[in-house]
Symmetry: C2
Subunit: 272 residues, 2 copies
């Protein structure tokens, strides 16, 4: 946030002309290649993992239903959780870090909007699995496996992050100048906590996937050709989840280093 | 690497005095608190996860053996893999990023030494599980589950990273000045790839843990008090693994931001 703010509104008189001359910090061919690679790869993986989950649930798990079939109701859980915690949240993080040419308030609003879209998905997914566990015969215990532990922590982190972020970076804008230092101090905490939350979500998805895959192996022993293909599809989903956790973390870490360099120089020039 | 190099040997005449006056980039109380928190928490978690794995294997899985008992031979696998891929590699990454007062070559050598210590652990762990899968009745298939897929990718990445890192940052030092630009260009790639490798290792550990835990649930149905306690121990290990993946990634991302700021300023001042 601070990068963009300073890039657009340099407070020192000399800094504007310095940006024009700035050849060292300008993006070279390699930086652009890296930027495009991250954007394309992340987009493909974020959409790809949702499509793969939908394909798996519809063709190998019998599709969706609500309370009339607990088994099919459960199927809403992986699809909605992947949509909310991975695809929407991942795009939200990426958009915030990679949008460099749009007014910063719009970037913040889009960032919030994507996270807001994740909320109904997460709530519905949670309700689906909760009801499905109650309705199945015999009822399954809640919050017992590693997946459920990680899922609970992830949801709690998401709620805290959304509420704190909403108040810190949007509501506090009503007194923009007086809250500037407070909001600046919050930026790195919000960024680190957000990345941690995304990685928690990925870990939760992977553990849930492995638990379901082990159940499949336990039930059928992969005796049929169909269950063997399903096993490979689930393994591929796992690899895509892990790849997503890594690429989003690398994207957030590396994508705007040249912009950061500009900020530091700007700040120093203003002080001296 | 570049930070340290520039901090120790500023090439511009004016920059040295600027460091002395540098009050904005100097670490304040909050930065020191964050630094100490990361060091202490990471150390506790890196050692804690190995101790927890040892405790679990010795008290709940019957301890160790070699080829005379395939089941106990398998037990070497989690302990040695956690020691090599998580504890040694994690300390290696942390030491490299957080050691700020020691000569840089010593930091690099310690970084390499920790990774070198991981190699025999990983090789032994791999041989243990390979032989155990062959010796057990009926023999288990190799490279079938998500855990094994991720494990193979992790080991391949580790080998590539070690060989490339060894040649780039130690062997090429023989012609220090002529290889400077090449080594500088390699630093961010090596850092990102190394972090990705650590996250892959964590994901591999978590998937392996969930697979074993599901096997336990499938076998005993958690009917005994002992197997229920084992289930909770394994869940806790999973939470620690995920916490480690997050904290190491945050530590690498945030720990020396003030140093980075100094470098950018230094570079700009030299140019102008």
């Amino acid at each position: 946030m601070r990068d963009c703010h300073l890039n657009k509104m340099p407070r020192g008189g000399t800094t504007t002309s310095r940006y024009e001359e700035d050849s060292e910090n300008a993006w070279n061919c390699c930086s652009w290649f890296e930027y495009l690679l991250i954007v394309i790869l992340s987009t493909v993986l974020l959409i790809g993992v949702l499509v793969l989950t939908l394909f798996w649930v519809i063709f190998y798990r019998g599709g969706f239903a609500w309370a009339d079939s607990p088994q099919l109701q459960f199927n809403l859980h992986p699809v909605l959780m992947v949509a909310g915690c991975v695809t929407f949240s991942g795009f939200s993080i990426l958009l915030y870090r990679l949008c460099r040419c749009i007014k910063h308030l719009y970037v913040k609003l889009t960032h919030m909007l994507f996270h807001a879209c994740a909320i109904p998905c997460i709530v519905m997914a949670f309700l689906a699995v909760f009801e499905s566990h109650n309705l199945v015969e015999p009822p399954k215990p809640h919050f017992y496996s590693l997946h459920t532990w990680l899922g609970l922590i992830t949801m709690a982190m998401f709620a805290v992050q959304f509420i704190v972020g909403f108040f810190s970076f949007l509501v506090l804008l009503c007194c923009e100048n007086r809250t500037y230092s407070c909001r600046s101090a919050m930026v790195p905490i919000h960024a680190s906590f957000g990345l941690a939350n995304f990685m928690m979500a990925v870990a939760t998805c992977v553990t849930g996937l492995v638990e379901t895959e082990r159940q499949l192996v336990g039930e059928t022993g992969l005796s049929t050709r169909n269950s063997e293909i399903e096993h490979y599809i689930m393994n591929s989903m796992g690899v895509v989840f892990v790849a997503l956790g890594i690429i989003i973390s690398v994207a957030v870490r590396r994508s705007n280093a040249p912009a950061t360099a500009k900020v530091y120089v700007t700040e120093r020039l203003e002080i001296n």
